[in-house]
Symmetry: C2
Subunit: 346 residues, 2 copies
């Protein structure tokens, strides 16, 4: 048994699928809130570029590799490495995505999410949810285990807002090493005031929580979860996916649903990943990608809490482990992906 | 063994997938050429509306049900009926599609095809081909038998042009009961002259044949065929898919590839479906949907040669047959789909 995933993971999928939802929200453009893109404007392009990297090892529609202001590259490099080593097929699904990737993806519709301080966040949440459920039903006929990751800048803030609306006393993670918790809390408070929502006041109306305070990734993940009933579902992400888990519980979505993340999220003392997941009552798993052993400093610092999660990195690493990949091989392949990724000519 | 598919079809797929490529070409807007849409302008909306009908039994983005000028409804109703009765999952893939459906679909990119008389038909054929191959590789990990249908108005004319460029002495079918062969031949001759192509002059350059004279459905189908190597592929269509088969042979694409169509195509004396397929050397199958037994006159006349094929109707009917559905049940379900489809409020 690989010693870098926790706890033991017994299930051996026959036809796993790695699905990743790519979305935008203007909440992610509030200065200082997200590290997924060096400038707020570039955050629109980050999810599509993540898809391009995973599908082709090439960045096509963004001028540079998506990275955090500190210079850490997108976690898509770890996901790509894990998928390279396992041959597990990936599929990106756009939900409220402004800048589309130049690789195949499933379109689930919807507009980019609004700044939650200013207006309803996802007016078309219901339509996205139904579309995603439709897709999930199909995939349930083809795959016996679907991982669902996400790439959306600003998603931890909308996760915090939704968790509060559902009544969770939660904190969320950040792609920054130092979590801007004060700013996040302020944004969430402003948004709740704008929407007339109090702590827990939407616990029996989760779709309204998404519509008012969430982001377009959420109804897509929820719809997929509902449609995939009968197939094992592994939500792959940190506190954003924990919020989806909480929303799914509030919606009464049943099935074999777990969550998988990275050791970096588990170790994040500013976030309450475990508390949320335990209170929802779903199993959680995490992988230790061992990135301190990378030869590339901006990758090494992942292990110090930069970036932490994203593009389903923790789940993809778990997949690699259950396929028998050694932790060291994953690190080497991650470095290789980063050193060989093709960037647009300047 | 069902007595309404020919010849006997022994294979029993475990995880079949019904995929349908939806595309536009301005060649389809040449007046008198295509019956897929009551006016040339509406042909842009027909493929998306077909997807909406199959996915939700609702027409959302088009003002009316796609139908031929004679009033026959889109063959999507037969496909929908067959998928309802079998539970086989469907997936629509847009390639050069101008008007996108309001249901989930895979985006393969590309622009709508140009009028082949005036300019290169599919300048981005190579990129679509690569994107589709990427998608095909993933689907090969999930499904053991992929049906590939099409919905593109004007596609038989581009099929004729490509077949001539490859050196086939062919005729193609039509969605009209009376095939406008004279007009098609004239359009193809003009296009070949414009592109400097003679009969057979592109037989060793099939991608150029698509780029100059084809439509965006073709590189998508070819890429899928290439990517799906290892999985059984059933091209579901008439002379358009026969042209794809011929292009695939010219490209050296190998694998377990067959073609399946309707009895109405086989009986079309103005088209050379069998001759093309036999000269490519791939097996063909056909189903008899028995639509003369419909209670609805515009559906009954399918059996007199109106519409004939489209949206993979012949392949979907074959799927129904191998799932044990009776011909009569398919007809009843087809009528039911047509009577219950939800149209936009006027």
């Amino acid at each position: 048994m690989p010693n870098w995933i926790y706890p033991n993971f017994e299930f051996r999928p026959k036809r796993p699928l790695f699905l990743c939802i790519i979305s935008n929200t203007d909440t992610g453009k509030i200065p200082g809130l997200s590290a997924a893109g060096t400038t707020p404007e570039l955050t629109d392009y980050t999810p599509g570029a993540d898809a391009e990297l995973v599908e082709t090892n090439r960045i096509i529609t963004m001028p540079e590799l998506p990275e955090a202001p500190g210079g850490s590259p997108t976690p898509a490099i770890v996901t790509k490495a894990a998928l390279n080593l396992t041959g597990v097929p990936s599929l990106f699904a756009a939900s409220g995505l402004r800048k589309k990737p130049a690789v195949p993806y499933v379109e689930l519709g919807g507009s980019a999410g609004n700044d939650i301080r200013k207006e309803s966040a996802v007016p078309d949440a219901r339509a996205i949810y139904e579309n995603a459920a439709n897709l999930g039903k199909k995939l349930a006929r083809l795959s016996d285990c679907v991982f669902i990751g996400e790439s959306i800048a600003g998603g931890t803030t909308t996760a915090l807002a939704v968790l509060k609306a559902l009544g969770y006393d939660a904190n969320v993670s950040s792609s920054f090493a130092t979590n801007p918790t004060g700013l996040k809390t302020q944004v969430v408070e402003e948004a709740m005031k704008r929407a007339g929502v109090r702590n827990g006041s939407l616990k029996s109306d989760p779709i309204r929580a998404v519509t008012e305070l969430g982001d377009p990734m959420m109804p897509a993940a929820l719809g997929l979860m509902r449609g995939l009933a009968g197939t094992k579902v592994m939500l792959a992400g940190g506190t954003q996916m924990a919020a989806v888990l909480a929303l799914g519980k509030a919606l009464g979505i049943e099935g074999d649903i777990s969550i998988v993340t990275t050791k970096y999220i588990i170790e994040d003392k500013t976030a309450s990943f475990r508390e949320i997941v335990e209170s929802v009552g779903r199993p959680y798993y995490y992988s230790d990608p061992g990135l301190e052993n990378s030869k590339i400093p901006p990758v090494q610092i992942y292990a110090q809490g930069y970036v932490k999660e994203g593009v389903g990195m923790g789940g993809a690493a778990l997949l690699a482990a259950i396929y028998g990949v050694e932790q060291r091989s994953l690190v080497e392949e991650t470095d290789h992906v980063l050193l060989t990724v093709e960037l647009p000519k300047k």
